[in-house]
Amino acid sequence: MARHKRTFQPLGYSVSFVTLFAVTIIFFWAGVAIFGNLLAPHSPSKIVDVDYFGPMSKAFPFGSDYLGRDVLSRIILGARFTVGISLCSVLLACFSGVVLGMSAAVVGGWYDTILSRFLDALSSIPSKLFGLVMVAAVGSSTPILIVLLAVIYTPGSYRFARALAVNVNAMDYVTVARARGERTFYLITQEILPNITGPVLADLGLRFVFIVLLLSGLSFLGLGVQPPNADWGSIVRENIGGLSFAAPAVLAPCLAIASLTISVNLLIDNLPVKIRDTGE
């Protein structure tokens, strides 16, 4: 590619403007999630507009919802649920997936076979369906949602980490370490993990997008975050009645979700090959 791209290199990697744009939006939503209660212009549960499904105005930049509450404030406070729950679940899912995957690759044998067969079976339940069944069984409080989403996405993370770890495990330096008599814990943390960190982080980002989509989908079905709390999916659900007159209360939370997920996808697509290289 001879095409010249304007780039700059703050971390030793060339960073394109798409990446910069994506990172800006991601940090923006992270900031909103953390400082939400300071930023919201109104109380998210207070009825402030005399009209319901009000249009965009100076006082209510994204209009008002089906009860006359400020949509902007509800989205700002909803960021905490959408971003927070998804982040906790993705960390949990990737931690357990990567630990199991690396140990399966190092230990091998029956442990590997049984674990792989079982987790592959789990991943052949469509994620949305799995979510529905689990919500029906155990309900949907916030801690349960976090664990549930983590369980649903652990098999994928396991499969990914195992494939990477199997490759590293075949390297000479791992054989040498094993011949030295190192234990499994040492092999996993000192030899394998440092060599798969980049791809695992890229995978974490992708899985974060999946989890945001599933959480929003569940909330949209009324089975995710429960009132009086609301994440972005629940805000769309509450206001779906305003769809037939194109109320901003329906569109704004949709756009919030889209901006977050598309940014993370763009960031990962534009990661330097050095980091993203899956080694497969």
Binding site: R117, F118, D120, A121, L122, S124, I125, P126, S127, K128, L129, L132, V133, M134, V135, A136, A137, V138, G139, V209, L213, S216, G217, F220, L221, G222, L223, G233, V236, I240, L243, S244, F245, A246, V250, L251, C254, I257, A258, T261, I262, V264, N265, D269
Partner: protein, 317 residues
């Protein structure tokens, strides 16, 4: 050679059967985690200790969990899906018409989406790097990274609110003519086609580009073959296997999409039935619907694998 293919396909079917068994176990175990006693919940106010004990015996709730599981699986194989907690009707009766409705929606979507997505995917690969390709790829990536209900919302805004071609919500009370049916199915169809096509275009494009990078295509190019001849004559026949695989895999996204689409548009399919069942915690209904969905998903995934095996000699070793 043929015996080898048969053996591989049988092995793949065996894996699918084992997977289905594990899935059924997980689904059963998950639905047993319900806190509280089912008999007590069902009886509600009338839950005297005697009544609860009676109902528990009648429902075989006192049997060991493994025995209950075995009974459930056997019932499933013989077509007895149990009795709904909510309506006291056999689950099988509740599911039949709903399932047909969903199948009609899924089949119609496939008929529309597959030719559309294949054409667009192949065109994008042929003119790789062009403005058309880049615009399509950007659209496809955006469609994949947003929730299904956003696509449904946009479809309603465009076709119902701005263009006023279609009603925003469909109610399938009495369908007497083809026109009426078209009216009901149009919005779910458009939304699902959007969801499925995005996946299919992406995978088809990747499959064709993969083949276009092969040395024999370069050879054909050097020979002076035109671009269309290059794609249609040299690349496509060899990309048929990966494309078929991509089609089957993308169709499995129907299952996730249909849950959202049937709910948002009030389409009387099996997914809507299941979502309602989850809201009322109607376990036999949920179990049955889940198993049907998992079965459909497994069939598509397995079909994708088998197509890949049959089409690619290198996977046969």
């Amino acid at each position: 050679m043929n015996a080898q293919i048969v053996r591989l396909v049988l092995a793949r079917l065996g894996v699918a059967a084992v997977t289905l068994l594990i899935v059924s176990f997980v689904v059963f175990a998950a639905t047993q985690m319900l806190p509280g006693d089912v008999a007590e919940i069902l009886l509600g106010q009338a839950a005297t200790p005697e009544a609860v004990a009676g109902l528990r015996t009648a429902m075989h709730l006192d049997d060991p969990a493994l025995v209950q599981y075995a009974k459930w699986v056997l019932g499933f194989v013989t077509g007895d899906l149990g009795t709904s907690y909510g309506s006291n009707m056999p689950v099988a009766d509740m599911i039949v018409t709903r399932f047909q409705n969903t199948l009609v929606l899924a089949a119609t979507t496939s008929i529309v989406a597959v030719p559309l997505a294949l054409t667009l995917g192949i065109l994008a690969a042929t003119y790789r790097g062009s403005l058309f390709d880049r615009a399509l790829t950007a659209g496809v990536v955006s469609a994949i990274s947003v929730p299904e209900f956003l696509i449904a919302t946009l479809a309603v805004l465009i076709f119902a609110v701005w263009l006023r071609w279609l009603p925003a919500l469909s109610f399938a009370n009495d369908v007497t003519s083809f026109g009426q049916w078209l009216h009901i199915i149009a919005m779910p169809l458009i939304t699902l086609t959007g969801v499925i096509s995005a996946q299919m275009i992406r995978m088809t494009r990747a499959a064709v580009i993969d083949t276009l990078d092969a040395p024999y295509v370069e050879m054909a190019l050097l020979k002076g073959a035109s671009r269309s001849r290059l794609v249609l004559r040299h690349a496509l026949p060899n990309a048929a296997g990966p494309i078929a695989n991509a089609v089957a895999l993308s169709l499995s996204y129907l299952l996730g999409g249909v849950i959202i689409v049937e709910t948002i548009f009030n389409y009387p399919g099996i997914a809507k039935l299941m979502v309602d069942g989850v809201a009322t915690r109607d376990l036999p209904l949920i179990q049955a619907c889940t198993m049907i969905f998992c079965l459909g998903y497994l069939i598509l995934i397995t079909a994708a694998d088998i197509l890949a095996i049959v089409a690619n000699p290198r996977l046969r070793t």
